[in-house]
Amino acid sequence: MELFSNLAMGFATAAEPVNILYCFLGVLLGTLIGVLPGIGPTATIAMLLPITFALNPATSLIMLAGIYYGAQYGGSTTAILINLPGESSSAVTAIDGYQMARQGRAGPALAAAALGSFFAGTVATVLIALFAPPLTRMALKFGPAEYFSLMLLGLIISIALAHGSVLKAIAMIVLGLMLGLVGTDIYTGTPRFTLGRLELADGLNFVAVAVGVFGIAEILRNLENERDRDVMIRKVTNLLPTREDLKAIFAPILRGTGLGSMLGILPGGGAILSSFAAYSIEKRLSSSPRRFGKGAIEGVAGPESANNAGAQTSFIPMLTLGIPANPVMALMIGAMIIQGITPGPNVATDEPELFWGVIASMWLGNLMLVLLNLPLIGLWVRLLTIPYYVLFPTILVFSAIGVYSINSNAFDLFTVAVFGGLSYVLVKLGCEPAPLLLGFVLGPMLEENLRRAMIISRGDPMVFVTRPISAVLIFLAAAVLIVVLLPSVAKKREEVFLEDA
């Protein structure tokens, strides 16, 4: 079968010593930053992006992917042990996980999280392998009109799934789209919004924008209330879950995996949303919902499976269509472009080793995480004693060197500062930064496909609704937008997110 030969090729690539090494480094680093609050996978990948230039394409993507799903693992460890979620996607894990730890059941909680994540990772790897080829084949038939409609649908879904105000999310996306257009117009060579600076002729530096928006702004947020972390390291005994535990987590892991796999594909949601959704489903389905919040192991297994599955299936649109589902995937696309690979459906056919190697490496990486994490828990918790006043200067200096090394260009560092400041202000005013970065990456693609579609149709905008695939996508986009803006839904939506917060 084609699937097996493809996966075999993937494992052959992933099992090359250099790839194993970088996969290991990736998941190790991912766990590390997952454990540490105040630095997430987006900022880390942005910082390391320039460095991957020295690696070959498959190796660099394998490492960056490892950082992303490794962070989902690391985040749960501290959520359970000290009620401090290292990543927002493990915030719900802290609810019941920490209660379990207080009852002396930290071991089973950690094991449930690890087993759930590993199972979800395995299933998601198979799902990617199953769905990527047909999606790629379909995407190859896409014309500019279909691409434009698909991206529009993606952006609107990400608005629907964004936290907080819908209007602000739309504004952030539009702002991102516009910032993405800065630079020389590809058709006419006209400089746009370059303020007369030569450095802006190629557009705003993507890495610099990402580091500013996610790295610097986050430091500023954390400086608002500097506190010491009281880290009490409890000795974790008996990691093994009991037979009852295993029975209790079986169904939640399956449900979490299914839910996460579906939500991960949608733009904007991914890991965070799926863990929240999984938790509320487990609570609703449970025969004894009262136990939730007091140490129910289902409340750990479900969300942890969901966030790992979601993190991994979010690779599907990136690998098959070249369209990012979240800022991390946008950075992955950036990494491909740095390597001279054009993201899109061609990657699977032109670079099969890279394509399948990255997919296979995810399974290997998940295996490493299980083996690596459980024995090293003591070490991860001790990392939390690193004070923030040591951590953030390190992040700042690393970011500066990383960004500078791309073009040896001081202007890129000014970009970091400007976007760090702007993003801090916007976050403070209740605007989520993720849609901005998504828009930034999609801006040029959206414009190019719009212009091409209009040229092909001789200026007839009906092209978007007369071509069947495009029509369906546009219809869905309109439906989602109307539903989100309906006053009753908007109200309900606000309640849901308030509950989460």
Binding site: M178, L181, F193, E224, T394, V397, L429, G430
Partner: protein
């Protein structure tokens, strides 16, 4: 006391309006074209118009929708020093070299924290310099000169 205006929303909307207006004005020098043959200014003009409209909607929504929520504290010293970090690094790295740039940036960063002090700054400057040299110059072999032209004799 009830506020009649949601400050957070009003400011956010205002920022969007200003940025949108700036981009819209900037498209004046760029060819707009028609829907058939879109010029380089067409899509940006549509987007900036949209941004101004959404910004206005956010501002309108903020009226009479007030809460007592304050904007929270702003770490002014941290804000200035952290944002100065990359800028100073960019200004120093070419002429003075990597080592001085790291030292200056890490000292700035340390003073952004309320826990700063001369001892900590010195320790971080030395530690971070060695760490970064090990990672970037030795490990990744980035071709950045350790000392720039101004410091070479």
């Amino acid at each position: 006391m009830m506020h009649r205006l949601n400050l957070r929303d009003a400011l956010a909307g205002l920022i969007f309006i200003l940025i949108g207006a700036f981009f819209a004005i900037s498209t004046r020098s760029i060819e707009i074209g028609t829907a058939f043959r879109m010029g380089p200014g067409y899509f940006p003009l549509v987007l900036s118009g949209l941004l101004v409209l959404i910004g206005a909607a956010i501002v309108l929504n903020s009226l009479g929708n007030g809460t007592n929520e304050s904007l929270g504290s702003v770490p002014w010293r941290g804000l200035v020093l952290v944002l100065a970090g990359p800028v100073v690094f960019g200004l120093t790295v070419r002429q003075l070299g990597l080592v001085p740039a790291i030292v200056v940036t890490s000292v700035l960063a340390v003073y952004a924290s309320r826990r700063s002090g001369i001892f900590l700054a010195a320790a971080m400057a030395v530690g971070l310099t060695l760490f970064c040299l090990a990672v970037f110059s030795y490990g990744l072999r980035l071709p950045l000169p350790l000392l720039g032209p101004w410091l070479r004799f």
